[in-house]
């Protein structure tokens, strides 16, 4: 199986993630789209790692997963704090600062 196919799939998934961030207005779905972007990159990294026969790509994937877990905890905590105060997660409705 040619590695190029995996990389192309990774690019497609990454772009869908970017689209999700740009199009969706719900903070949680925006965050889900970001997770999709990270997953897409992980696929590339594992593909390259197997192509080179080198473990370090997979080590980075392992660390990216830890980082994603940490980000999920903090991000969802921010979302909860936000929701308690404003009762909305629409990122168009939260604009206190201007200028």
């Amino acid at each position: 199986m040619d590695l190029t196919w995996y990389l192309a799939l990774s690019a497609v998934l990454f772009s869908i993630g970017v689209l999700g961030v740009l199009l969706r207005r719900n903070a949680i779905i925006v965050f889900l789209s970001i997770e999709l972007m990270l997953n897409a990159v992980n696929l590339s990294l594992v593909g390259f790692s197997q192509g080179f026969g080198d473990v370090h790509g997979q080590i980075l994937v392992f660390f990216v997963m830890s980082v994603a877990a940490a980000e999920a905890a903090v991000g969802l905590a921010i979302v909860i704090a936000m929701f308690r105060n404003t009762l909305t997660l629409n990122i168009d409705e939260i604009n206190l600062f201007r200028g």
Partner: protein, 169 residues
């Protein structure tokens, strides 16, 4: 042959899942579509012979992170998004931007991707990235980085408590 077949099955599953997340109105549905993407990607890791990463993907992403998402969505009791009406120019711009990013990445990766000289065969690559080698690399070369990830996870735990605990003192 089987390898190619499996790749396309899981590739289609992951893209369908991603698109489902992109267009679903309910946050719960979006999260469930994401679970499908994660599982499909885990299977793709298996087709790449990266068994360890595949298992960790299921455990951490599908198992822990997505459950956390679903938990928060349920906790906040979010209703569905209103249906989309009329042409939103911002969405058109976003769509053009997204397609441009995709085209760039595809061009980069597919067109300019030449084979490397004396690349290892698939069997050699699998042998060189086997779990014991991962473990040794993690605890020697990356021992320091592993410590820092530990600090990061501790900081994230504390941060989540500081931000979200009901009455923080």
């Amino acid at each position: 042959m089987l390898e190619t077949f499996l790749f396309f099955v899981f590739a289609v599953l992951s893209v369908v899942g991603a698109l489902g997340m992109l267009i679903s109105r309910s946050p719960v549905a979006a999260a469930l579509w994401m679970v499908q993407v994660m599982l499909a990607i885990a299977c793709l890791y298996l087709t790449l012979n990266a068994a360890f990463i595949g298992v960790v993907q299921v455990l951490v992403y599908a198992g822990a992170i997505m459950v956390l998402f679903l938990f928060v969505i349920m906790l906040l009791n979010l209703e569905d998004m209103p249906s989309v009406g009329g042409i939103d120019w911002r969405k058109v711009v976003a769509g053009v931007l997204g397609v441009a990013v995709l085209a760039q990445l595809l061009a980069l990766v597919v067109v300019r991707f030449g084979a490397i000289p004396d690349a290892p065969s698939a069997e050699e690559a699998v042998a060189a990235t086997d779990v014991p080698y991962l473990g040794v690399a993690l605890l020697t070369e990356h021992a320091f980085t592993l410590q820092i990830v530990g600090v990061l996870l501790l900081a994230a735990t504390i941060g989540a408590v500081v931000l979200a605990k009901k009455r923080f003192v």
